[in-house]
Every structure is written in C-alpha cells, then in structure tokens.
C-alpha cells in the first residue's frame, strides 16, 4: 500500500504494509526518518526554508516549510514509540537550476535550514544526496526500513542507510 507524500506534506506510519513514497523532489527536500526497533517511518516533503515568509500559511500547513515541518516529523514518530538516538535519517533533494546563485537558490537554502537544525539538535544524517540538477523520487518500506531512490530517467536504486 503506497502512502503518497505530496509537495508540502508529511506521512508517518508503522503499518508494515505501507510504503511511503514521495515523487519528483526538485529544489524541495525529502527528509525520511526510520526507527528500526519499533519499525516506524516518516517522510516530509517541504518546499521552502523558513516559515517567517508567511506565518499564516505556515499555521495552516507547517509541512510547506523546513523550520516548521522538520520538528513535527520527529515528534510524530515519537508518538509511535520512536526514540531520537535510534532514528536513521536520510535527506534527498535540494536540486538547483544551473548557475542559480545566492538567495534565489532555494534548493541550497532548503538544505541549509535542515543542516542548522540538525547541528543544534545533535542529529546525524545516515544518507544524504542533495543538489545537482536532477529530480529524485523516494520510497520507504515501513516493514523493513528499506529505502529506494529514483533519479528521473534512471532506475530505482537501493539506499544504504539502515
């Protein structure tokens, strides 16, 4: 059963039948976390770095922004018994158009906000593939924690993160 995470969306599950999928990460970031002990996984697909851009929209949908979406993803898995220091963490996306520099490089800014939050909160990343000019799709099998990535135009490949 595919649980599809749309753009600006999050899904967390401990259903062993579930495969959490998010498609076509461009400049957006796909953040996946998984606790192999209680077998709960979650994926967040956020589009923009900081909620200060539009606090009203962030109130309605915190998953649109990195700074509001990331803490909620972790907290949601804790409800299912996940423990922070057991969580495997994977980061994909953050692509950019060629020569897209400075503040307009939203892919890079999406990644930076995540790095800052992880550094402050002592979270280490087990697998990361960020940047470049490609679209990435992510699949996470809740039963095993097996994760697959597809770069558009290429085959699915297994991610070594567990």
């Amino acid at each position: 059963m595919d649980l599809v995470v749309g753009v600006g969306d999050m899904k967390v599950s401990n259903n062993p039948e579930a495969v959490i999928v998010t498609y076509a990460l461009g400049s957006c970031i796909g953040l996946a976390i998984y606790d192999p002990f209680v077998k709960v996984g979650g994926v967040l697909h956020y589009m923009l770095p900081e909620s200060s851009l539009d606090p009203v929209k962030a109130g309605k949908n915190p998953f649109m922004f990195g700074d509001t979406g990331i803490p909620l993803l972790f907290k949601e898995t804790y409800k299912y018994g996940a423990v922070k220091n057991r969580l495997k963490v994977m980061v994909l996306g953050g692509a950019q158009i060629l020569d897209q520099g400075g503040l307009f490089n939203i892919g890079n800014r999406n990644h930076t906000v995540l790095r800052k939050m992880f550094w402050k909160n002592n979270i280490t990343i087990d697998f990361e593939e960020v940047g470049g000019t490609v679209n990435r799709t992510l699949k996470l099998e809740v039963k095993t924690g097996e994760a697959l990535m597809k770069i558009s135009g290429n085959e699915l490949r297994k991610i070594p993160w567990i």
């Binding site: 753009v7 600006g8 076509a24 461009g26 957006c28 851009l53 950019q96 020569d99 939203i106 135009g153």
Partner: protein, 285 residues
C-alpha cells in the same frame, strides 16, 4: 540521427482544427476583440461542452454552475475564457506519457497547465494586455518534447553524459546529440500551426530568454520565470530535471526578488488541489 525523420513527425500530432486556427488568429491580432471567440465557439458543440466543463472546475471558484458561454464570459471574463478554450483544444497533444523524458501519462500536461497558470498570474499582476497569447505560449512551449521523446529515449545515456561531463544544459545536449532541441522543434510545430511570429519566437527561446529580451515586452521573462518555478517545485519533473540555465537578468528585469519567488511558490501550492482538478478536467480525465 536522421533529422528529417524527426521533423517529419510533426505531422503525427493532432492537427489544429479550422476553429482552432480561427481562435489563434483572434488572440494574436491586437485589432480583434476577444468577443469574437464566443462567436467562433458557439457553433462548435464539442468545444462549448469542453469549455463549460473547464469553467466549472473548482479552480475558477464559481458558486453557481455556468451552463452557457454567455454566462461563463460574464463570470470569468474573456481572458479566462480564451485560456480555457486553448486548454480544451490543445490537451490532446500533451496528455500522453513521454517515455524519453520519463514522464507518465498526464505529467507533461500538468507541467504545461501549471506553468501557464503561474505565467497568467504573474502577467496579471503586471497588467499585461496579451494574456491569452502569453498563456497559450506557456501552455505549448514544450510541445517539441512530444516529438523528441522517443529519440531522447534512444540517446538518453549520451545526452545525460553531455550534461554531467561537459556542463551542457539538457537543451544544448539534445541539440548536440540529436541535431535539434525540443524548443526549436516546438517552434517548428507552432509555426506550422500558424501561430503568430511572436509566439513562435517565445517557444523557440523559452530556455534562452536573453536572446529576445527587447523593448518593454515582459512575456518571455514571465514565461521563463513560470517555467523556472515549475522546475524547482518538481511539477511534472522529468529526466531533464533542472538542467537548464538560470538567468538572474530575467529576475532583475521583472524586479522579482527571492521573497517574491518564495511567495509565488507558496501561493501556487495553496491552489494545488484546485489546479489538480483543472488539469484532470481539461485533460479529459
């Protein structure tokens, strides 16, 4: 690669009908009134039915269902009616899967409609007066991908190596490996369909906007920006990915800041459910 064979394939697309040609003439001619559109489509039952279906989609937010063209015009205005007619007319060529670009059925249509809607919204904010031309150009800018798709599939490894190793854009790599790129091919298609020279030029240069940045016309800048936004958000994201060149000059010309960019992305996201419905309805699903 036999370039002639690729170009011959233009004839395999569904041709533009006589009505379609007449509509293009109306929107391209500054001396025409958009009210003439109504006169043209009211005799075409299929087109009228399609138009009303699109106008009644949640995207346009009408409280009451419109049942006649007259009503639709009154509620939505002529620009939107013209755009809806164009979506109804051209969807058949853009909804199929495009294997070479790794796009499933409906994804190229989603990309096309999304970038046209974003372009329309950006143009309206700047009070541009040629909205239907701009919308239609944005909608059809990737029609060349429909022709080039199968050839991309065969040459994909070579193309992607040129992108990765030689620093080429996907467009430049298409040209290097296949002898022609999807923008040029798209321009040839719409030229054959008798689009105006301005629209042909926009489609030919939609990845190279600096080539035709002349005078005060902001159309190419807006279409380029809308395309950039779609690529970043991964709408209809295919094998070509984001491998196109970014031009800060375009943003500067539009006085478009990084905050504007993020707000436009956020605003479009808010409408995404309604957009999805519009895409399905206009694509005949």
């Amino acid at each position: 690669m036999d370039l002639d064979k690729i170009i011959q394939k233009i004839d395999s697309l569904s041709p533009v009908s006589i009505t379609g040609n007449r509509l293009m003439e109306i929107i391209s001619n500054p001396d025409s009134s958009l009210t003439e559109i109504v006169d043209v489509i009211k005799y075409d039952q299929a087109m009228t039915a399609n138009l009303l279906r699109i106008c009644n989609s949640a995207y346009y937010g009408l409280r009451t269902k419109v049942e006649s063209i007259k009503q639709a015009v009154a509620y939505l205005g002529l620009n939107t009616i013209a755009n809806a007619v164009m979506m109804g007319h051209f969807s058949k060529n853009l909804t199929a899967a495009q294997g070479g670009y790794d796009l499933n059925e409906g994804e190229l249509w989603k990309y096309s409609v999304s970038s046209a809607l974003i372009a329309q919204s950006l143009a309206e904010k700047r009070h541009l007066d040629n909205i239907p031309c701009l919308f239609t150009s944005a909608l059809l800018k990737d029609i060349g991908k429909v022709i080039l798709g199968t050839h991309i599939k065969d040459a994909f490894k070579k193309i992607i190596l040129s992108v990765q190793n030689d620093g080429l854009t996907f467009l430049e790599a298409e040209k290097k490996i296949l002898g022609i790129d999807h923008a040029e091919l798209g321009a040839m298609v719409v030229e054959k369909w008798r689009f105006s020279p301005e629209m042909v030029s926009i489609i030919r240069n939609h990845h190279d906007p600096l080539k035709i940045l002349i005078g005060d016309d902001l159309s190419i800048s807006i279409i380029y920006l809308a395309d950039t936004i779609c690529m970043m958000v991964g709408i209809g994201g295919g094998a070509d990915g984001l491998a196109y060149r970014y031009y800060q000059e375009v943003m500067d010309r539009l006085n478009f800041t990084d905050v504007d960019l993020q707000k436009t992305i956020a605003d479009f996201w808010e409408k995404s459910k309604a957009v999805e419905e519009l895409i399905n309805m206009s694509g005949g699903r």
